[in-house]
């Protein structure tokens, strides 16, 4: 869309025409006895001449820069590249680079696992003949990607990073809840605090009293609805009532805390799926077919700043020169 601005380039003709010397400005000196001369063809009038060539150049440059700024061009400046997903084993990377014969290639560290999205956004920056190698725990896209460049994907599934989440627990049967969280497997570790923590991902409220007003969390599990009468009328799915309030989303069910393993698993899976998101699968090793007609991603605006500064400098120079010429 932005590249349509290139069609505005004929505007450069305007200063060129403005600076063209007018017919009257061709020098013809008065000569009283000119009447005795045979009249000549005005050859001089057909000569194209420009006044203030420097100013003309500046103005043309100014307009061209403005149009370039609007058109926001992206120059293909990246050659053969190795795209590395963060957290990939360096030995694995070295092996894959050697195998692909891309020892000279430039290494680009990707910001995250979603390599295909990054590639789509930056694909204009790669030279048409550039070869790409994608290494690491690449998130698998929903659809097969269409790319203009030859890409080889060498995935390495990484072990999920260990992390811990804080759970604020307010209950008289705290032991039951601790047992429940202790039975959980996986990389996620849960820290149960009796005191409300500022970074609590979950608040378990199993008391008949109303919670302190300052307590906030993305999700509340309400085992005792005495303090939350509005939950009774809240919508429900499979016996689980849910309600969005200013202090966070409330879940409540009659069977809280879960008594059997299946109910507990369902509860946790639902929680993780809705609040932590589904972790993407690692993409399989693949080399998508090169499609020259693939739709390129949005323009990058990489030259935006440089062009803007150039425009400013040119504008200042143009004003200066115009002022000097007037004096």
């Amino acid at each position: 869309m932005n590249s349509l601005w290139w069609w505005a380039l004929p505007i450069l003709l305007l200063p060129i025409l403005w600076h063209r010397q007018k017919r009257e400005q061709t020098k013809a000196a008065p000569l009283a006895t000119a009447r005795f001369l045979p009249q000549s063809e005005p050859v001089q009038l057909r000569v194209w001449r420009w006044s203030d060539v420097l100013l003309l150049l500046l103005r043309c440059l100014l307009l061209a820069t403005l149009i370039a700024l609007l058109a926001d061009p992206v120059l293909p400046w990246r050659g053969d590249s190795v795209l590395v997903v963060p957290g990939t084993d360096p030995a694995f990377i070295g092996k894959q680079i050697r195998a692909a014969g891309l020892a000279e290639a430039r290494r680009i560290d990707l910001p995250g696992r979603d390599a295909y999205r990054w590639l789509h956004e930056h694909e204009r920056e790669f030279e048409p003949k550039a070869r790409l190698l994608l290494v690491g725990d690449v998130a698998m896209p929903a659809a097969l990607p269409r790319l203009r460049h030859a890409l080889t994907v060498r995935p390495q599934a990484a072990a999920p990073a260990r992390s811990e989440q804080h759970v604020a627990l307010f209950s008289r049967r705290a032991e039951e809840w601790r047992k429940l969280f202790g039975a959980l497997e996986g990389p996620q570790r849960y820290v149960l605090d009796a005191q409300p923590a500022a970074n609590a991902a979950l608040v378990i409220w199993d008391l008949p009293e109303a919670p302190p007003p300052a307590l906030h969390a993305p999700l509340w599990w309400i085992a005792d609805t005495a303090a939350f009468p509005e939950l009774v009328k809240a919508p429900q799915v499979d016996g689980l009532h849910y309600l969005d309030t200013p202090r966070g989303r409330l879940w409540s069910a009659a069977w809280l805390p879960p008594k059997d393993a299946a109910a507990a698993r369902t509860m946790f899976e639902t929680w993780l799926r809705l609040h932590a998101g589904v972790p993407p699968y690692t993409a399989p090793p693949q080399a998508p077919a090169v499609d020259a007609r693939a739709v390129a991603g949005p323009e990058g605006g990489a030259l935006h700043e440089a062009l803007a500064i150039t425009l400013l400098v040119l504008f200042a120079l143009e004003r200066l020169l115009t002022h000097v010429r007037r004096r």
Binding site: A28, A32, A34, F36
Partner: protein, 297 residues
């Protein structure tokens, strides 16, 4: 050519009066016929002194008595009026290509000023007619130093522009032509026949002494102009002209034809016609212009 009388010096003298004095000094007394004596010397009245009056006309005895300057006025100095006609059309701005600052208008102005000064010296009445920008500016004839100042001021003020006035405008301005008079016309005569030439011939047929001074430049006479430059007629419609080799021959031929025709017509009507390049010394031009009919203009 004496130094003071050179055209270049006259061109660079800002003051017309000073230049006139220089030119007339260079001229000496050769064409000066002297004051007409006789009836004109008859005492008529005393008049208060005005700046420009000659000191010798001041009555010193009366000054001793009255403690004021008085000038003796004569009854009538001369019967002849001198009319100065200046063509101040745009073409008169043609400069000399060899002497910087000199152009036809300046020379014409200087020479007419000289004639006015001579007329004033001789006690003749003189008036001025300036043809400029389709109009004719008329200064009635009178005599005396104040008239000289007036005429010189008028001449100084003239700014060349436009073309000649129409024939009827000029004819309306020629109502003076009753008394016998000398008519001195300074022009480039590039247009002939023209309203001015018609007026000259008409005045001549009324037995006035009409004298034509055709001002030219040396470059015009030699047809020596820059071939690379485009030229236009200042009174024309902006068409361009160029000096090529053939154009030059054609120019010389046409120009010669034109001025031959002018000279021939002047001769046929007994009008003294002097064509002079402005680069010549003004005194020489003046001498040639006023030569023919005895010493008197």
């Amino acid at each position: 050519m004496s130094l003071v009388a050179s055209a270049a010096l006259a061109a660079h003298t800002g003051k017309l009066e000073l230049a006139i004095r220089h030119v007339l000094a260079g001229l000496g007394h050769g064409i000066h016929a002297g004051r007409e004596r006789g009836a004109g010397v008859e005492f008529s009245e005393y008049r208060a002194y005005a700046p420009g009056d000659e000191w010798r006309r001041v009555d010193w005895k009366l000054m001793a008595r009255a403690d004021r300057y008085y000038v003796r006025e004569a009854e009538r100095d001369s019967h002849v009026a001198v009319w100065l006609v200046l063509d101040a059309t745009a073409s008169m701005l043609e400069p000399s290509r060899s002497i910087e600052g000199l152009d036809k208008l300046n020379t014409a102005r200087l020479l007419l000023g000289c004639v006015a000064a001579i007329a004033q010296r001789q006690g003749d009445a003189f008036g001025l007619l300036v043809c400029q920008g389709e109009r004719a500016h008329f200064t009635p004839a009178a005599r005396g130093p104040r008239q000289l100042q007036r005429v010189l001021a008028q001449l100084n003020r003239v700014d060349a522009a436009g073309t000649l006035p129409a024939a009827e405008v000029l004819r309306a301005s020629l109502h003076f032509a009753r008394a016998p008079s000398v008519v001195c016309v300074a022009s480039d005569f590039l247009e002939w026949p023209s309203p001015l030439s018609a007026a000259m011939l008409r005045l001549r047929s009324m037995r006035h002494d009409v004298r034509a001074l055709c001002l030219q430049t040396e470059a015009e006479i030699a047809a020596d102009f820059d071939a690379a430059q485009a030229w236009r007629d200042p009174e024309g419609d902006g068409k361009l002209f160029r000096f090529g080799r053939e154009a030059r021959t054609e120019y010389a031929r046409r120009r010669e034809e034109h001025f031959d025709m002018v000279a021939q017509q002047c001769r046929a009507h007994d009008i003294p016609y002097v064509a002079a390049p402005i680069e010549r010394a003004p005194a020489e031009i003046l001498r040639a212009w006023l030569r023919k009919r005895g010493g008197r203009p």
